[in-house]
Symmetry: C2
Subunit: 225 residues, 2 copies
DNA sequence: ACAAAAGTGTTCCCGTTACACCCATGA
DNA sequence: TCATGGGTGTAACGGGAACACTTTTGT
């Protein structure tokens, strides 16, 4: 007998709001539920926390199943615990967001999991309280993107500045002056220019940059707006 | 039979990191645990989530029991779900912080609950993962205090500017120039000067101000640093 | 030659900071 | 009168925002 045996117990789930850039557009990875409740509805990817598994590990497991990767960038958004949030049974859910780069997933595996990339500006109605989770996530990552070097997680290891700028404009929801943007980037030592050029988007080509985590110190200021 | 009957279930608790200003010092409301596990250790005030009760309601219930009040300012900090965080049995906990004004609690009731105000700069060792919760809470409220008009919840309905400034200095952890601070306050329409004077702290007396929620619009800028 | 995207500096302005003295009052 | 805390303005500085043209190259 344990200490708390007179207390009620609950199903606890993790729900992962997974971001990716597909075809230049910021997307969420959504699934159509294959079972009741809310069968057929779109929802974010989730799973139940298991015995002996921390909530963070549960979220990492969901991501591992979808990507085969263990080191996906991830942060907790918060707990959602309305009584009626799941119409089937009571479930308390912890939301996490994750950022996937283009090489971090295999389209075939996603398909096998009934998961699809849906552009953020074109989301279908979501089930449960997932719209609320997505809202809270968006306001969280807006503030994170401004002050933490995490945007690179959504891009390939080598990326161009126009790519990076477009990403920031999408996340922050406003256009950014090109020259001011590049000025700020130039002041960040951890964003280093390579001598490679990407010609997929223009005749002239754009220089490729990479994020060098080695050169990033946690208390160096990183502000992009 | 429910939908999820093959899934494990967990005890879910709420832990409230409760702030108050006592004797001019910023304090946390802590309790000595009266039962195992961790009997005798200091901890923040918590309780188990009940059937049919949302996690927010559970936190409000903990606060209601301590204060008799239902409208305490409160915000979720996040979920804590390490497997071993509670040495007794596995418990997943959702942390909330709350801000109490001087009139929001009754010392006798607190005593009946084995709760005491402990200055933040003099915290005893805390049990469980409560040090982690407190850390995360502090970084959260630092950013909140800078951008949201919530500091007033820790003060009486009428407060002086020196009081408010000291509070901000404590929360932000750095001294603030008096004239610059008052200049910023003067630009905030929702902080209104009354014609009352508080003479408890000086011969000259300090003007009393109040926060007027009516005059506060959610998108008016509120920045104090 | 031209279309299409990448790249590049300077100026102005406003908000932030730094800073020192007088005021009101009770003891 | 003096000690104590409350209250007030200005000048210098720096970071942010606005702004337009040149470069490269494939077709």
């Amino acid at each position: 007998m344990g200490y708390y045996s007179d207390k009620p117990r609950f199903y606890v789930a993790v729900d992962c709001i997974i971001f990716g850039v597909v075809g230049g557009r910021l997307c969420l990875l959504l699934g159509r539920r294959r079972f009741d409740p809310e069968k057929g509805k779109w929802s974010v990817m989730g799973g139940f926390v298991q015995e002996g598994e921390s909530i963070g590990d549960a979220a990492r497991r969901v991501l591992l199943n979808l990507t085969g990767l263990r080191d996906i960038y991830m942060e907790q958004v918060g707990a959602f615990g309305s009584v009626e949030r799941d119409p089937g049974e009571r479930v308390i859910s912890i939301a996490y967001y994750a950022l996937l780069g283009p090489g971090d997933y295999d389209p075939a595996v996603l398909q096998a999991n009934s998961a699809e990339w849906i552009p953020l500006d074109n989301l279908p109605p979501l089930g449960f309280d997932h719209p609320l989770m997505v809202e809270k996530t968006l306001s969280l990552i807006r503030s994170r993107f401004s002050t933490e070097p995490i945007g690179f997680n959504l891009l390939p290891p080598l990326f161009t500045l126009p790519q990076l700028q477009t990403l920031y404009e999408t996340i922050l929801g406003q256009p950014i002056d090109k020259r001011n943007f590049r000025k700020r980037i130039a002041e960040i030592p951890s964003i280093v220019k390579t001598d490679l050029i990407d010609k997929t988007n223009s005749r002239r080509g754009a220089s490729l940059y990479r994020f060098d985590a080695e050169r990033f110190s946690p208390d160096s200021k990183f502000v992009i707006k």
